[in-house]
Amino acid sequence: MNFNPFSLAGKTILVTGASSGIGRTTALACDRMGAAVVASGRDSERLEETFNLLETQPKCQVTADLTHNDDIDKLLSSLPPLDGAVLCAGNSTTLPLQFGTREKFDGMFDINFFAPVELLRLMYKKKVLKKGASVVLIASIGGTHSFMPGNGVYGASKAALNAVMKYAAREYASRKVRVNSICPGMVDTPLIHRGTITEEQLAEDAKRYPLGRYGQPEDIANGAIYLLSDASSWLTGHDLVIDGGFSI
């Protein structure tokens, strides 16, 4: 039995934000599904840790802070032709809207919106994305389905990203490039353990999820595998909600 429509064997896939959290787990999952992974991240030491765990050859790592255009250029110039990309690099903030200054919005949009949108634009324009390639953006239910107090600045950046995903899906279909997003609920990564919300509050919040827990990075990585694989070759412009039932 070798039937596996989710295989990524023979594909070359870029994963940004691969130095931690969803990005690292996704890079490792793509590797285990047979893809040659290009791992990009901001923290070279932690990126190296991810890189060392990758087994499929040829593998590649590029340290880049995608909020800097020079770093985007550096990444682009080192990219082989791609069959797929998962743009995970991002950040979050918990801030009531009345404190959401232009500066706070700019900081969030720089990394969550402008960085992936610019990278996506240039990967398409420079034809780094091969015909039939699949791009996965990491959005959030906070941008599309669930509007919890304190998540407005973050959620707005993800809503904007999700809108670009749909437009890109339409426009890039001419090259059969598919563009989808994943909208996770709360996922247990370093991002949510920065202390604005206490561990007790997080534990309490997790109980509000119908499936009884927050997501693990693997829950999102497995969705990305589906969207990258030929199993989803008739799917584009879709926001895949993976949230333990929270937004039902």
């Binding site: 009531p96 404190f99 920065r194 604005t196």
Partner: protein, 76 residues
């Protein structure tokens, strides 16, 4: 940092609790209006007004407004 100014900034995050209720000894988590959003507002106000990043635990471990004020002073 001035404690009275801090109390005023603290009180400004509340909509239904009278300003007179707030003083240095107020046990703020016992207020009816206290909520997780109020906690987020206090954290954001402290960042905004005092350039100090406090965490949820700073709030949990403070009983009174004075307690929180002292924690913030130490971080400045």
């Amino acid at each position: 940092m001035n404690i009275q100014e801090f109390i005023d900034n603290f009180a400004a995050q509340f909509d239904d609790t009278d300003a007179e209720v707030f003083n240095a000894d107020t046990k703020f988590k016992q207020l009816d209006e206290w909520s997780s959003l109020a906690a987020l507002s206090i954290i954001a106000m402290v960042d905004d007004e005092y350039d100090v990043i406090i965490k949820g635990n700073d709030i949990i471990e403070s009983d009174t407004i004075q307690d929180l004020f002292e924690r913030i002073e130490k971080k400045r």
